[in-house]
């Protein structure tokens, strides 16, 4: 039993002149739910397709469950469940037929397991796949990824197209997989999707890792925006030397600050003047991620 489920070492993939991944190094621990976040085109699917040996790295290495994705592909895929960002199968077949076939490629999955998952997600196995909506098609993808109880689930934007109720069922399935000691690696471009279940989160932008931490620690990194209105205009320079405080805007007698860490120093400095108004906003997590996405936040 390895303690590292996925290990990337300077993994690089270039497509002609375009960079897909630029020297990405990180580890996913066995048994954790790992959120892989980034805007569209950041390299999330590229990473996942490298892990599955669908594409090959330009340089650097990846190890998955202790195996080489390339030379041990067949042995590795036996232990994986994969859901692609856009799940595609031949639309003429029925959902049940498709799932039975895919299960047989893995040596067979008990029919009871398939029907159990389908019932849970309210998927009609009799329906032809081309007649299914985007969300229902995604359910077929989820069933095929989970049905053989793989050690490692690699899910690319698993919740896309799912309604909120099914999203919740999906999150329950992820939690159960984790409780069974299995590892889940899931990508998303929306933080709130992974926030509820992820132990740790990595954020990538333009093929590079910009943050990797627990959700709680990432949250602790967020800053406070404080807006103070004074009775009379106050010079911004008065606050220039305060630790963790930067003046963002001066507008008449109203000053806007960005506070990283404790607001104590700012409050004491402001107390020397008559304060007529005060407003403080924590940056919410989506904003924080937006800042990482656009490169505005300091890289950790």
């Amino acid at each position: 039993m390895t303690t590292t489920a996925i290990e990337l070492d300077h993994l690089t993939k270039t497509y002609g002149a375009r960079r897909g991944l630029a020297g990405l190094s990180m580890q996913v621990r066995a048994g954790e739910v790992f959120g892989y976040l980034g805007p569209n085109g950041a390299g999330k699917s590229t990473t996942i397709r490298l892990l599955l040996d669908l594409i090959r790295p330009t340089s650097g290495t990846a190890r998955v469950l202790g195996l080489d994705p390339r030379t041990d592909a067949v042995a590795l895929h036996r232990r994986l469940g994969y859901l692609a960002g856009d799940f595609v199968v031949d639309g003429r077949q029925r959902a049940g037929e498709c799932l039975t076939f895919l299960g047989n490629l893995r040596g067979g999955v008990p029919a009871a397991r398939i029907t159990e998952l389908a019932d849970r997600l309210e998927l009609d196995l009799n329906a032809r796949i081309k007649s299914l909506s985007k969300g229902n098609r995604q359910k077929v993808g989820l069933v095929q990824a989970f049905m053989h109880r793989p050690e490692l689930l690699i899910l690319d934007e698993p919740t896309s197209g799912l309604d909120p109720l099914v999203q919740q069922t999906f999150l329950d399935m992820v939690t159960e997989a984790k409780d069974d000691g299995r590892t889940v690696f899931m990508s998303s471009h929306i933080m709130s999707e992974v926030e509820a279940v992820a132990d740790r989160v990595a954020i990538i932008r333009e093929g590079e890792l910009v943050a990797l931490d627990t959700v709680a620690d990432l949250r602790a990194r967020s800053f406070l925006t404080v807006r103070i209105t004074f009775a009379a205009p106050v010079a911004a320079t008065e606050f220039a030397d305060l630790d963790g405080v930067t003046v963002q805007e001066t507008e008449g007698s109203t000053l806007t600050f960005r506070v990283d860490g404790s607001p104590d120093a700012l409050v004491k400095a402001a107390a020397r003047h008559t304060v007529t108004g005060l407003r403080a906003d924590t940056q919410d997590l989506e904003e924080l991620f937006y800042a990482y996405y656009t490169g505005a936040a300091a890289t950790a």
Partner: protein
């Protein structure tokens, strides 16, 4: 462990979910049947004209077309080698190979389905061979349908100067020609990752150009050019008159094997397109 069955899986469908090969055959059952019926019926219809055409033999075929084998309708074998086994059937075989081969790898790679299949415990070469075996099975069914059609009209259309063995030989050569063009399209898709229309177009283009080359080569006094096309090994040995031509069969099989091997090698060494 359980007797539950998965809804949406009929008996036939269940029997065909055991491998990529069986599943591909099952998914293509209607297409393959249509090809076989259409080709078989066409061959039968044209073959049945023999009693009419044999009277005004050698009639109006231009000298320039002699290379296509359209100039000899004095015997049953000569006639069938012309419009039927010399023109209509091999061109249909070429198009079956191009169209089906373009769907074996290219179409699924284009749609993204190949990503899903190859994320399963299944090597790329194995996937390619299963798909190609399904295509080859379809080709054998087509050739068998043509053979059945010929045997059906053999006495009524006065084709009984050709033995059943020689008909079988011609059908075997036909199956191998069909499989060869299937291998070309499958191999092209596997090697390049190009989409289905491109693979079909290039394969069909090579087929038609090769056929024209084979037909016109004798007119320009360069018979050897015809030897560069698979059509030479398919019919120049006149299997309807001479039976199985083992050397020709070996060449057709060797080219097919080379195409599939090259395709598999490239497929294993490249990124899947997306």
């Amino acid at each position: 462990m359980t007797t539950t069955t998965v809804p949406g899986v009929s008996g036939a469908a269940r029997a065909c979910t055991g491998s990529i090969f069986a599943k591909t055959l099952y998914d293509n059952r209607r297409v393959f049947t249509a090809w076989a019926l259409a080709t078989g019926v066409l061959a039968m219809m044209y073959g049945a004209f023999y009693p009419q055409t044999s009277k005004d033999s050698l009639s109006s075929v231009p000298k320039a077309m002699e290379g296509f084998g359209l100039n000899d309708s004095s015997s049953a074998a000569g006639y069938l080698q012309g419009p039927v086994f010399g023109l209509l059937i091999p061109l249909l075989a070429t198009f079956y190979g191009a169209a089906t081969g373009a769907r074996m790898i290219s179409a699924d790679e284009e749609s993204g389905y190949l990503d899903l299949l190859l994320a399963h415990p299944l090597g790329r070469t194995r996937l390619l061979l299963h798909r190609f075996a399904a295509l080859a099975t379809g080709a054998v069914v087509i050739a068998a349908a043509v053979l059945a059609g010929m045997l059906l009209i053999r006495s009524s259309a006065k084709l009984d100067t050709i033995s059943i063995g020689h008909f079988t030989a011609q059908a075997t050569h036909l199956a191998l020609l069909t499989i060869l063009f299937g291998a070309l399209a499958t191999g092209l898709g596997a090697a390049t990752g190009k989409g289905r229309p491109a693979v079909f177009g290039v394969t069909a283009g090579i087929g038609v150009a090769g056929y024209a080359l084979y037909g016109f080569a004798p007119q320009i006094g360069a018979d050897w050019l015809g030897h560069l096309t698979p059509y030479h090994y398919y019919i120049a040995g006149e299997p309807l008159k001479n039976g199985f031509r083992l050397a020709d069969i070996a060449v057709l099989i060797a080219i097919t094997a080379a195409l599939i091997t090259a395709g598999a090698w490239r497929l294993n060494h490249r990124d899947l397109a997306r």
